[in-house]
Symmetry: C2
Subunit: 329 residues, 2 copies
DNA sequence: CGTTGAATTGGAACCGGTTCCTAAAATGTT
DNA sequence: AACATTTTAGGAACCGGTTCCAATTCAACG
């Protein structure tokens, strides 16, 4: 049904090895080249890349496992990875796990069956089981967004980013601060980012800090904020992500209060939507594109057997919006 | 280097055909089953799915070509497609073209080499060349978001959605309306949606309608809005997408005006971010998840040779926010 | 205990390419 | 024209699976 190299060979009256040589730029005389060229054009023949990689022992596939596609951060990183990999003649195989952790394991295994040359895992949390699976499949794995011992990782500089934000809030004269974070099972955001913020605040002597925990979604963040404000009235609310900040903002305006007049508010992430929202959110923008490019470069090096540093850190920039009020006179 | 079925066979002391039968649930005695099970467990053997599909003439891959990953609509549709395909044991191969149209053609060809079983093309515009390529590769292609003669398509009900919006605006008493649309080369959004809106407005006798054209991005929309307001002061601005509406909103607040007091504003799309923004945007929410599921179901039917309707229409719902003022007393 | 039929197993061919090796053809050299 | 050298072409084996077919084993039955 489908056209194969054998058909081309027969139609052109040559051996399939000759066709193969023609396709891969080997020694073929002009006369036979012409014959083959003609037949291929007529038949719309496309070589079966599965059969090719079977022999080549190299698929030029890189698998990327992402927790979701509909988050700004993930999709930006994915786009950058895809772009960079394409430039280098790799095909990106994106798998979304819809935030089901067990699917990350399944996906690692299923990608290993596809014999991808390498895997980039955009992680939210890495368990024992992950590490076990990573070790059992014989394929290089690069972890993005979480730090794991003995594994190659690319992470954001969460501690420094948090520290910077803490210092900024202190600098604006806030002494009573709430932090809405996420579960500590998330090392990067839940632990490092938080620690940076706390240290940044603490260094200048801010003591009245209360911390809360929210899910990553807007609605839960709104609820957590609401619960918090019943018992505690800070001057500034630092949120672990922009989405959480949006949730907080929603609750604040529902209560008839205003940002930044009643509460100063900050996030982390740097969604481009932030600039539309009024007031523009003060936040930290992580360099997601750079992370993606770095991830693509790194995984290729790994598949080629070159050594790469175990831990690489991607940068960020501070984005000053209008959501923080200065309490200094 | 990598473990193959041959290795398993030798280690277990059986023929490779027996191992294959074991893996695919054929007739194998308990005793041999046990031997093979043990060897596979020890070696972490994973069958090479390339070699499998080579013989099976079926890869269980479905390719999806998307213009970008970082748009709410695209990623929602993608997630739904992926989810549904996984349920049915297909692997989704997502390719992003970063809005380069020529890459859509390239991707069609490259997917045909991967011998995917079917292709879903999330399109922004379909040219002659597209159709030529679609016909030349021997693989079922389903087009999402654009309508093309002789091709299987799933589209939003843009005309009806536009009509509904037009009627709504008229119903609120607006007589002087601006429409910020997009290029007519986009049949769905640029032509159908616009026509629906114009018809919806015209039916009630609104005559003072001016139309403008913007790119799909926020910044251009802001600029277009700005230029428009120098010459024309409508009471309502209907935007072809939510993003364009956000751009318009940005300009409006920059000019010190307010929505909906000075201008009523509407969009199309139904981003979840819309509810955060104050005032909440009145918009049309297309059922993107349903579209994704429908796309997945349809492409599978197509690969299995079942007939499917050439054109399928996905639904929408009207979302009333706070961005439209009633001019009726 | 020999026969029969079903269950189990091994061997070989095949899927669609690539590559190695050798034979034939083309070209150059004296 | 005879020989050496380089190009070009074909045949066969291989990549890692699946599947068909024939051979063997096994249990049941008369």
């Amino acid at each position: 049904m489908n056209i194969t190299i054998k058909d081309i060979a027969e139609l052109a009256g040559v051996a399939k090895s000759t066709v193969s040589r023609y396709l891969n730029g080997g020694n073929v005389s002009e006369k036979t080249k012409e014959k083959i060229r003609k037949v291929i054009a007529e038949t719309n023949y496309e070589p079966n890349s599965f059969a090719q990689s079977l022999k080549a022992k190299k698929t030029n596939f890189i698998g990327v496992i992402a927790p979701t596609l509909d988050s700004y951060v993930t999709s930006t990183v994915l786009m950058a990875i895809d772009e960079e990999l394409r430039k280098r003649d790799y095909t990106t195989l994106i798998i979304s796990t819809s935030k089901h952790v067990e699917r990350e394991i399944e996906s690692l295994i299923s990608l290993s069956r596809q014999k991808v040359d390498g895997i980039i895992l955009i992680a939210t949390g890495v368990t024992e089981k992950h590490i076990e699976t990573i070790n059992s499949i014989q394929i290089p794995v690069l972890i993005v967004a979480q730090e794991v011992d003995q594994c190659n990782c690319i992470i954001n500089d969460d501690y420094q980013a948090g520290y910077k934000m803490g210092q900024y809030i202190v600098g604006k004269g806030h002494l009573s601060v709430a932090y809405i974070g996420v579960t500590e099972s998330d090392i990067a955001v839940g632990q490092r980012r938080k620690q940076g913020i706390l240290d940044g605040l603490a260094e200048a002597g801010v003591s009245d800090i209360k911390t809360y925990i929210s899910e990553f979604d807007l609605h839960d963040a709104a609820k957590v904020t609401n619960d918090m404000l019943e018992n505690f009235t800070p001057t500034a609310i630092i949120c672990a992500t922009d989405t959480i900040a949006f949730g907080a903002m929603k609750t604040i305006s529902k209560l008839g209060k205003k940002v930044p007049d009643d509460f100063s508010l900050t996030g982390f992430g740097g969604y481009n939507i932030s600039e539309v929202i009024h007031p523009a959110l003060t936040t930290i923008r992580f360099k997601n594109e750079a992370t993606g490019v770095m991830a693509a470069e790194t995984i290729i090096k790994m598949t080629e057997g070159y050594g790469v540093p175990e831990l690489q850190v991607s940068g960020f920039e501070f984005v000053e919006g209008e959501s923080v009020k200065s309490l200094k006179s």
